[in-house]
């Protein structure tokens, strides 16, 4: 298939449609607006449904209903809007329904700003809503990866009956790149025999629910969910190793920041400094095992567009073995390769 030049938000929308998503519920917020706008334009052409909800809270609960009715469904938002969606995400995880949620994140806290940021790492990976739950978080670094991961996210959601988050910073949503829409790897997906589609007087009623008043029952449910999350940790971790072989300094970065770090790695290489990059593609589950594949590393540095959130996971994965450093820009400011190179030299020079 020929490549087409698309804006990130629209490419993600087109990927969702390619994956068979015909039901989109959203609410305007910058910098993700082109996504619902694209869906409002394209879904009617394929007998799909676009609803502009009255709020992000309503939108995620529409997703909850549509997913319960057995549909492939998606919503998108940006950071403050994602905060509002956490209630629904918790219910969807508790009731074990599949859906895809896109966060084109911006600076915070509060209303923050509208420029790219990675300050939603905690919100995305720690369960912004209440209760013991987890969900996959994909962090694409290019638009092609955003397309591929969005398409696959629907299969993963159906497979595990769990929400999947696609987390792109504002840069991923707003930039343009050539993309192509490929078929995902075939998965055997379970039948949606749990969906509330009406009994047709042929079966017992299906109930979509996250309430369990009996603590023994709820504990059983929590353990069942946890087993599912363990299977995701076992099977769904993704990451890229960039020039890590023989590297003394290992950067850890995702999304847009990882692209910038690659430039820094190349610049350091040109100066004879051996640096590499671990790029988590799934933020949850975090690629802990990648940290066992860097025998020559002397130090780690987490580079983020935040004041340091992923660094917690880096420290957990590192398990005290190597010193862990941090470099970040935040509030919508983008790190430069030059500044990252300087940071690397400072670390390797012993730091002052």
């Amino acid at each position: 298939m020929a490549k087409v030049l698309m804006k990130g938000n629209e490419a993600i929308g087109a990927a969702a449609i390619k994956a068979g998503c015909k039901f989109f519920f959203g609410y305007p917020i910058t910098p993700q607006n082109e996504l619902p706008e694209f869906m409002s334009r394209e879904l009617p052409k394929i007998d799909g449904v676009f609803v502009q909800a009255e709020s992000e809270v309503a939108a995620i609960n529409m997703i909850y209903g549509a997913a319960g009715a057995g549909a492939r469904t998606m919503t998108s938002s940006s950071s403050p809007g994602m905060a509002l969606k956490q209630e629904g995400i918790s219910y969807i995880a508790g009731a074990e329904l599949p859906c895809v949620i896109v966060n084109i994140s911006r600076g915070g806290p509060g209303l923050g700003g509208i420029q790219p940021s990675q300050a939603d790492y905690f919100q995305s990976t720690r369960g912004g809503g209440n209760g013991d739950y987890r969900h996959l978080v994909y962090a694409p670094s290019t638009l092609q990866e955003a397309v591929d991961l969005t398409i696959e996210a629907f299969d993963i959601a159906d497979y595990y009956r769990n929400p999947v988050i696609v987390l792109g910073d504002g840069m991923i949503g707003q930039m343009m790149e050539p993309v192509e829409f490929n078929e995902p790897k075939k998965r055997d997906l379970p039948a949606k025999d749990w969906a509330t589609t009406g009994t047709e007087d042929k079966r017992r009623p299906n109930i979509i629910n996250s309430l369990a008043l009996d603590p023994a029952e709820l504990e059983k449910h929590n353990i069942k969910l946890d087993n599912k999350y363990k299977a995701m940790e076992e099977n769904e971790v993704r990451y890229e190793m960039y020039k890590t072989e023989g590297a003394e300094l290992i950067f850890v970065a995702y999304g847009t920041t990882a692209r910038i770090v690659k430039n820094a790695v190349d610049a350091l290489e040109a100066e004879g400094i051996k640096a590499g990059l671990i790029r988590p593609i799934t933020l949850w589950p975090f690629p802990n095992k990648a940290f066992n594949e860097i025998p020559t590393a002397k130090a780690l540095v987490s580079v983020e567009m935040s004041m340091g959130q992923m660094i917690d996971d880096v420290k957990i994965a590192n398990n005290g073995k190597l010193p862990v450093h941090f470099y970040g820009r935040t509030g919508g400011m983008i790190p430069t390769p030059e500044a990252i190179v300087e940071k690397a030299k400072e670390i390797l020079g012993g730091g002052k």
């Binding site: 609803v51 009255e54 909850y64 209903g65 209630e87 009623p205 979509i208």
Partner: protein, 248 residues
């Protein structure tokens, strides 16, 4: 021996958890009967609220979806948009619909979503233990209004049906009561009509049903029926606020 009264197929055989004298049971039965009489039980998908009827999913004998507090109309929107040929309803109390879920109910009506809302108004939060609701009457005592509701600091009780009747998309709006037999009969007619409006694809329909809460009102079941008649009816007038032209 001939059977003169039996359980409706619209309800499961699960025993209700409702308090003695609470009229939720009557209202459940009316909804169940209507779904059976209209022949749509097998196509029905109900959305349960948070509140006393949080366990409604165990009682209605059709597919059910449990929503977050106040969000039932958003969940029902998602379901109905996916399944336009099914019959979708929400069953919500006054804390759920008139307080935390006002945005969701108003905008479901505003969009003219083609589902039916059964709105049970007992002027109090029942499940959580008798706190003040937006529908609590002036002077009525609640656990968060121990001196009685004061209009100066908490406003006047919210009349949801009147408010929703101002919205074009809400094509059927009626307030009924179940505190006596005549009221129950009228309530059933209104519920049936609201579902017929949905089935005809005309728009959003809501039936507000005045209901009792002896436990949290702190009076007997019999006194509750009387209290509803004497206190709620004057403030919450019964009647139809909107009905579509077709099949009037």
């Amino acid at each position: 021996m001939s059977t003169i009264f039996e359980r409706t197929d619209g309800l499961t055989d699960k025993q209700f958890h409702y308090c003695p004298g609470c009229t939720h049971g009557v209202i459940h039965r009316l909804v169940g009967e209507v779904l059976v009489e209209l022949g749509v039980l097998g196509k029905a998908v109900g959305v349960a609220p948070v509140g006393c009827s949080v366990l409604a999913y165990d009682y209605f004998n059709c597919d059910m979806h449990e929503a977050a507090h106040g969000r039932a109309p958003a969940v029902a929107t998602g379901i109905k948009r996916v399944l336009p040929d099914n019959v979708v309803f929400t069953y919500q109390g006054d804390g759920d619909l008139a307080s935390i879920g006002t945005a969701e109910i108003i905008h479901a009506a505003h969009r003219g979503e083609k589902f039916t809302t059964i709105f049970v108004n007992n002027a109090i939060y029942g499940m959580t233990g008798g706190q003040m609701a937006p529908t609590t009457l002036i002077g009525q005592k609640a656990t968060t209004a121990p001196y009685g509701r004061d209009a100066a600091t908490t406003g006047m009780p919210l009349r949801m049906s009147e408010m929703l009747a101002t919205i074009d998309g809400a094509v059927f709006v009626e307030r009924v009561t179940v505190h006596n037999v005549a009221g129950i009969r009228k309530a059933k007619k209104a519920i049936k009509k609201a579902f017929e409006v949905q089935i005809a694809g005309l728009g959003f329909g809501i039936v507000e049903i005045l209901s009792t809460c002896p436990t949290n009102w702190g009076i007997t079941p019999v006194e509750s029926l009387k209290w509803l008649e004497e206190n709620m009816l004057p403030y919450y007038p019964l009647g139809n606020f909107r009905t579509p032209e077709e099949g009037k």
